[in-house]
Point group: C2
DNA sequence: TTATTTTTATGCGTGAAATCACAGTTTATG
DNA sequence: CATAAACTGTGATTTCACGCATAAAAATAA
């Protein structure tokens, strides 16, 4: 998994990285002291991926916990009809592969870089030792897993109560919270996904997403800036479509 | 939460229960030795609910981990249009309320007994002490949460790739695995939910569930026995509709 | 058992989203 | 900066689940 190029990067970045980047960015290590952080840092390997590169393939047996240090990735399943259903978008500080740490099973999804992405990798065996010497890490992971459960439960609720507008609104609000930056006229969102990606995230056709977003623009709720940005003008109005 | 009646039950049941029931049924305590099990047993309270009774209300702040000892419950959210979206069905050995153990927040769903149900309750403060003295419990909970994530991810996949047949098949297979009993001609499933319940579980209209199940019966894949049982005759054929 | 209530099956019309097709726009690339 | 490639928007058409209505069946109570 770690090729030569990655090793070179590792060496050149590590001093900086161990103390400033991975370990401190990540909530699961937030309760650690300096000494413990250094210990964790020693166990970490690094790797870089270009946009479109696969980090993990569906069904592949992985052996590590992977933490996003920079960039973002999508985790998706390939459905029967050949489409992709995106389940997660992981960004800086997020992790995946936690399921393989305890049991021994295959990745339930593909993970693909949405842009240039740097990750920190901790091998299963190291992590198991780590979790025993610092049990609080398990609790932190538990917390993160609970947040994911929350998100998935809400997604299921919205997907179940079949109003399509609500699904589009929900994803826009999610992106606004996660990627939005203040802007004189509202919130500027850098979309992590194309229209097709959004459609695959919320289980709709690409065209439907286009149409619904056009309507929201006509209503003055948002403004599309090119294909990759959205300026959210009236958040409260958007939230109303959820109720 | 614990009324007088429950306390009486507690006393009368406890000896038997502590050593034979809750603690041993539950995977999160599976790695404990006898001494530890006894310690846990001391912290447990009991309560009984009749069919239709609410164990927890959506939005309510709860303070305990609840383990199903006998019976089953549904956890559901009430959607905008007044319907219920069922998220989980918890049976013997399952637990809920784990999210309130770490942080302090409200239940994301209603929990309602589907039949006479007995539960074991551990208070937050006791559990926090327990988890510190036996860190392995956190790991066990992690495992269980990972399994839930798996299930929700699969549900989202099926709900996203809008083939309705697949949703019905998935839920039938899930019930077959969880509640199915061997039968000379296949697998006999005691359905935990009515047609309407199933519909609310997979986000469809009740009529649509009826129709799809009728088709499956015509195709000889299953046989409906009254309203509460299904005899699955051809599992592999049912699985094909997922692929 | 019979009566009552609840649950289920099914035909049918409507409407909303999927799909197809294509033009137009944006973004990436050399 | 120009050209190719990828992505997006929108009309026309089709499909299929929803929801109503009603009859039948099953579960529950008397």
């Amino acid at each position: 998994m770690v090729n030569t190029t990655a090793k070179i990067n590792t060496i050149s970045n590590c001093k900086k990285c161990n103390h400033k980047l991975c370990t401190q960015k990540v909530s699961i290590f937030s309760s650690l002291n300096m000494e413990q952080l250094a210990k964790v840092g020693d166990l970490i390997n690094h790797r870089r991926y270009k946009k479109g590169e696969l980090l993990v393939m569906e069904g592949e047996k992985t052996e590590s916990l992977v933490i996003i240090n920079e960039g973002q990735v999508k985790a998706y399943k390939t459905t029967l009809d050949g489409k992709e259903q995106i389940i997660y978008i992981f960004s800086e500080g997020d992790f995946f592969g936690e399921r393989n740490l305890l049991r021994d099973y295959a990745s339930p999804y593909n993970v693909e870089a949405l842009e240039e992405t740097h990750v920190c990798i901790i091998h299963k065996r190291d992590f198991q030792i780590l979790i025993k010497s610092i049990p609080d890490i398990a609790v932190k992971i538990m917390e993160e897993l609970c947040m994911r459960l929350d998100r998935l439960e809400n997604t299921i609720e919205t997907m179940g109560s079949r109003t399509v507008e609500a699904r589009v609104s929900l994803v826009l609000l999610e992106f606004a919270d996660k990627y939005g930056k203040p802007h004189p006229r509202g919130t500027l969102i850098e979309l992590p996904l194309s229209r097709e990606g959004i459609a695959n995230y919320i289980g709709l056709a690409r065209e439907t997403v286009s149409r619904k977003m056009s309507i929201l623009q006509e209503e003055g709720i948002l403004e599309m800036i090119g294909n990759k940005k959205v300026l959210l003008l009236n958040r409260s109005e958007l939230e109303k479509t959820l109720k």
